[in-house]
């Protein structure tokens, strides 16, 4: 009894009771914290844990041409994917033999994928052929973590090219990934140039997701909640292009042997009808997997195949520039239609002689355009002056971006006094520097796209249009058509001035002594202007700009052929054929032979019936 008395005193019992109670209260508080306070956070983590999200790639939008023809299509591409978390590395060499890929390449791709997530499938090989797909499929049971997925890839029916306009899609680069953020993942395809890039957000569509239950070993157990939570992918929107692909293909074939560009525009709305940059490449090389060799070949080709000559270049416009100078002079009242200059075949300014190709004698402004008299414009540009030239150049859309749909574009250059001061220093340049601007030589740079817009402006009587290739976007979710508005503005040139200039351009093509007779179109009246731009690096660049029909123009065009020589000889016939095809729907083959009646005496150009290639 004594012993019992001395153990377990009531004060010690109280201490132990307090210890036990406080320990359990502590646990209860922690339970409360985890299950009630942090419930949302842990619930989310638990969902992420047990659910594998399978991304369903959307079907990229289609592109239709102006006649509703499907020109950019999609087809299935099978990609072999590997989920690093469930992949058995001992099967690497087997997989590499099936895919005919170096094991190190596969490993590298997996290593890159693991950075993002061990549980997301990594595309190891894209767009495999059916033989490879079948071989992998047969052996799937031996290859844990390996599967294939269906993606869409671009298909170009009719062998459509227009690669610089349509652009291409490529696997997203790390730099792009860092910029665009969470909508994309490593290995995704993204529009990387041309319309594919600028309309990426429309074309791409939205990824879908399938939720699959997964155990801790990463084994798929089946759709979560019977697939009720799955989000289907959403198709991308379709683009309705202004381009006429019949015309496009003719233009491409006519340009085949040249380096240069051709842009045809509807002068009524600015819609691009044809857009060619040569040399080019087949856009379908980008649609599946592009091997490094093909890419290097494209990228390092000395002809710069990827380079968009229609928008990224700065060529001197040559004599096609003369209408701008004439418009400025007439509009500013510096000259009128009766103003004449006598051309003696050369113009002396200071101690420098500026030559002309011919002795044109006395010419007014219309005749000077018709016969491309250089002396007339050497003198006229001096009268107009640099400031007005700069002002009108800008009004006509030079020296600035056209806001064309594709991102690859340069502004070009129209010089100003400020420009010369910057380049040569103040007072270190003379008026002599601007004489050659009168014939579109010297420090002036334009792109064929700007020239096509210029041709369209002359065609429609003075409206500067925003050239564009996409007329409308079809929203396939609401099935509504979103018609895109485009800017247009009047340059504010009096119609009497425009009439004179257009008359000069009509005579270039239609009148004896015009330099553009080879662009003539059987059955309709057209107008244009040739240009032959000197080029310090080689043969002259050949220019032709024009429009047709003369009275109610439906097409305006600019053709540039690098180092091809005379504009009237090389560029004009191509422009003529393209415009003819557009207006008549097809190229009347016989037109060539029975048009011989028209004589073009007194011109430097060949007669019309000799333009057969």
């Amino acid at each position: 009894m004594m012993n019992v008395e001395e153990i377990g005193t009531s004060s010690r019992k109280r201490v132990l009771t307090i210890i036990i109670i406080s320990a359990f209260v502590f646990l209860l508080l922690r339970l409360f914290q985890l299950q009630l306070l942090y419930h949302t956070e842990f619930g989310k983590k638990s969902d992420e844990n047990s659910v594998r999200t399978i991304v369903k790639e959307p079907v990229r939008g289609y592109m239709f041409d102006r006649n509703g023809k499907l020109v950019v299509d999609v087809g299935p591409a099978y990609s072999i994917t590997v989920t690093p978390a469930s992949f058995n590395t001992s099967t690497l060499s087997f997989l590499s033999s099936l895919l005919q890929m170096e094991p190190s390449v596969i490993q590298e791709r997996l290593d890159r994928g693991i950075i993002y997530s061990r549980f997301s499938p990594v595309r190891v090989k894209r767009d495999v052929d059916f033989k490879t797909l079948a071989a992998v499929e047969e052996n799937l049971y031996r290859l844990p973590g390996v599967t294939y997925e269906i993606e869409s890839k671009r298909i170009y029916p009719y062998n459509v090219r227009a690669p610089h306009l349509l652009g291409y899609c490529k696997e997203i680069t790390d730099a792009q990934l860092a910029k665009v953020g969470s909508a994309y993942q490593q290995g995704d395809i993204i529009g990387s140039s041309g319309l594919e890039a600028s309309y990426e957000t429309f074309l791409r569509g939205e990824k879908g997701f399938e939720f699959i239950s997964v155990n801790s070993k990463g084994q798929l157990l089946g759709p979560l909640e019977g697939g009720r939570r799955d989000i289907p992918s959403k198709e991308g929107f379709d683009l309705n292009l202004s381009v006429d692909f019949g015309l496009q293909m003719l233009a491409e074939s006519l340009m085949t042997n040249y380096r240069g560009a051709l842009v045809a525009i509807d002068p009524n709305d600015g819609g691009v009808l044809a857009f060619v940059s040569k040399p080019d490449f087949d856009p379908s090389v980008f649609s599946g997997v592009m091997s490094v060799e093909v890419w290097n070949k494209l990228n390092t080709n000395p002809d710069k195949l990827l380079f968009n000559r229609a928008t990224m270049t700065r060529y001197p416009p040559g004599s096609t520039f003369k209408m701008l100078i004439a418009a400025a002079a007439l509009e500013e009242g510096i000259i009128d239609e009766h103003y004449r200059i006598t051309c003696s075949g050369a113009f002396r300014f200071g101690n420098k002689v500026f030559k002309d190709m011919h002795v044109h004698g006395s010419v007014n402004v219309v005749e000077a355009i018709q016969r491309s008299c250089d002396v007339f414009f050497y003198q006229l540009v001096l009268k107009v002056g640099l400031d007005k030239l700069y002002e009108y150049g800008n009004k006509f859309g030079f020296g600035q971006l056209t806001s064309f749909d594709i991102g690859e574009e340069t502004a070009g250059l129209i010089p100003s006094a400020e420009y010369y001061n910057r380049v040569y220093g103040k007072g270190k340049w003379t008026q002599g520097y601007i004489v050659s601007l009168g014939i579109g030589q010297g420090e002036v740079g334009v792109s064929p796209l700007q020239m096509a817009r210029y041709a369209a402006l002359l065609a429609n009587g003075g409206t500067l249009l925003q050239p564009h290739a996409v007329n409308s976007i079809r929203n396939k979710r609401t099935n509504s058509l979103d018609i895109i508005d485009h800017k247009e503005s009047s340059v504010g040139i009096d119609s009497s001035v425009m009439r004179l200039i257009r008359e000069g351009m009509r005579r270039v093509v239609e009148a004896p002594g015009g330099t553009g007779g080879m662009a003539r179109i059987q059955g309709i009246v057209s107008a244009g202007k040739t240009g032959t731009a000197q080029n310090p690096h080689g043969a002259d660049h050949a220019w032709y700009i024009g429009f047709a029909p003369f009275d109610h123009p439906k097409i305006a065009i600019a053709v540039l052929l690098e180092n091809a020589g005379m504009g009237g000889v090389k560029a004009a016939p191509i422009a003529g054929k393209v415009m003819q095809r557009y207006i008549f729907g097809e190229l009347p083959l016989k037109a060539n032979s029975d048009s011989s009646g028209v004589s073009l005496n007194g011109t430097t150009e060949h007669s019309f019936n000799t333009r057969e290639q």
């Binding site: 036990i20 320990a23 985890l34 299950q35 419930h39 969902d47 844990n49 047990s50 997964v214």
Partner: protein
């Protein structure tokens, strides 16, 4: 009739134990039913049946017989512990499994009870007084001997449980506060030393102040403080001379969540399981963490998160309350037991069970280091279940015989 039964039959301990065993079986069923471990559930049902019989038998063995057999029981388990250490098979890195033929078990589960009983039996001898240093040392040796064998297996968790049972026993037996603190302080100082120099210094100062406050004489104070500092310093020196991987193992032990894919993985997943359960839980057999096997061998040490996930705060707090009620009931039995053996044994048993509960649940909720300690009555495992049910049987026995001197 019932009031008579109530006088001699500890319904509270028995019913709480049965409730916990049933909830535990449900949890084990949930954690194992759809993978190839369903056999574990049936085995556990069998163990529970055996346990129930053993518990009831234990409850009705005469108290004196138990007291007399204590040392026999103690030495038997001690011998088996030595055998296990020599020829035992290694399970999860420690030699703790003893088996003959197809039957086996973990003798350390039984050694805990045996040690408590032997200790209580020794101290309840009429000529023994804990205030005598000689007797204190013998009592401590009774504890230390199996503790070292178990530490050598190595089974750190069970060693900690031994210690956790020893402290309340000494406290209950009337050991002075100073001696208790003199035992406790070196351990705390050693822990502080593992955490860092600053922690080492703070704990040392606090320990010194405590020792000084409860000092019995200056000499004892100086010796105790000296021992504490020596232990702390040597731990720190040992730590600094360890390999980096050993140091990492210790830091991971103290802070498992620092290593999310390794040792911390279970804790992270366990917290997710419990946290995602919310107030009412995901429903029986519907816990995704459990059913998709995010926590390896969840039916053993992490059984509490099945409960938390599938039955939510409601279910888990009910179980916590049952455990708390059992602990407090154990304390009450110790308090009302008029004989020293029963009273001390009840305290030891309560200490063992409570330590298991607190450490296991704390570990599942990320409050405690991951120590391989099963949750009493609920974790899968035959030896532990039977040993725990024996302990409840003992509590029932002490309750029934509480008026015996």
């Amino acid at each position: 009739m019932f009031s008579y039964l109530k006088e001699y039959f500890d319904f509270r301990a028995c019913l709480i134990c049965l409730a916990l065993v049933i909830i535990g079986l449900m949890s084990i069923y949930s954690a194992t039913f759809d993978i190839n471990n369903a056999a574990n559930f049936y085995k556990q049902v069998l163990w529970a049946g055996i346990g129930l019989i053993v518990m009831l038998v234990t409850a009705f063995i005469p108290l004196r017989t138990i007291q007399r057999l204590s040392f026999a029981f103690y030495f038997t388990t001690f011998a088996i512990l030595i055998i296990v250490l020599v020829i035992g098979s290694t399970v999860k890195g420690s030699k703790s499994w003893f088996g003959i033929g197809g039957i086996g078990g973990q003798p350390s589960e039984f050694a805990k009870v045996a040690t408590v009983l032997a200790f209580a039996s020794f101290l309840s001898k009429t000529d023994v007084s804990i205030s005598q240093i000689k007797h204190l040392v013998i009592a401590l040796c009774i504890f230390a001997a199996p503790m070292f064998l178990i530490l050598a297996e190595p089974d750190l968790g069970t060693t900690i449980v031994f210690f956790a049972a020893l402290l309340p026993l000494l406290y209950w037996a009337g050991v002075s506060n100073f001696i208790l603190i003199a035992i406790l302080v070196p351990i705390l100082v050693a822990l502080g030393a593992l955490l860092g120099t600053a922690q080492f210094l703070i704990v040392s100062i606090l320990g010194g102040v405590l020792l000084y406050y409860f000092r019995e004489n200056r000499f004892a104070f100086a010796v105790a403080l000296g021992i504490a500092l020596a232990v702390g310093l040597s731990v720190q020196i040992m730590y600094e001379h360890m390999h980096v991987y050993q140091q990492k193992r210790i830091t991971t032990f103290l802070n498992p969540e620092a290593d999310q894919l390794g040792a911390g993985y279970n804790v992270v997943q366990s917290k997710i399981a419990i946290g995602s359960g919310g107030f009412i839980g995901k429903g029986f057999l519907k816990g995704t963490q459990t059913q998709l096997n995010y926590i390896p061998e969840q039916w053993t040490d992490f059984i509490f998160c099945v409960l938390g996930e599938e039955f939510g705060f409601l279910g888990a707090s009910i179980v916590l309350s049952l455990f708390a009620a059992l602990s407090l009931h154990g304390l009450k039995v110790a308090n009302i037991s008029k004989n020293k053996f029963g009273s001390l044994s009840a305290i030891g048993i309560t200490g063992i069970l409570t330590t298991h509960i607190i450490i296991n649940i704390g570990m599942a909720m990320g409050l405690m280091p991951v120590i391989g300690l099963p949750l009493p009555f609920m974790s899968y495992g035959g030896s532990a279940l039977i040993a725990n049910m024996i302990m409840v049987g003992l509590l029932m026995n002490f309750y029934a015989n509480r008026k015996e001197y």
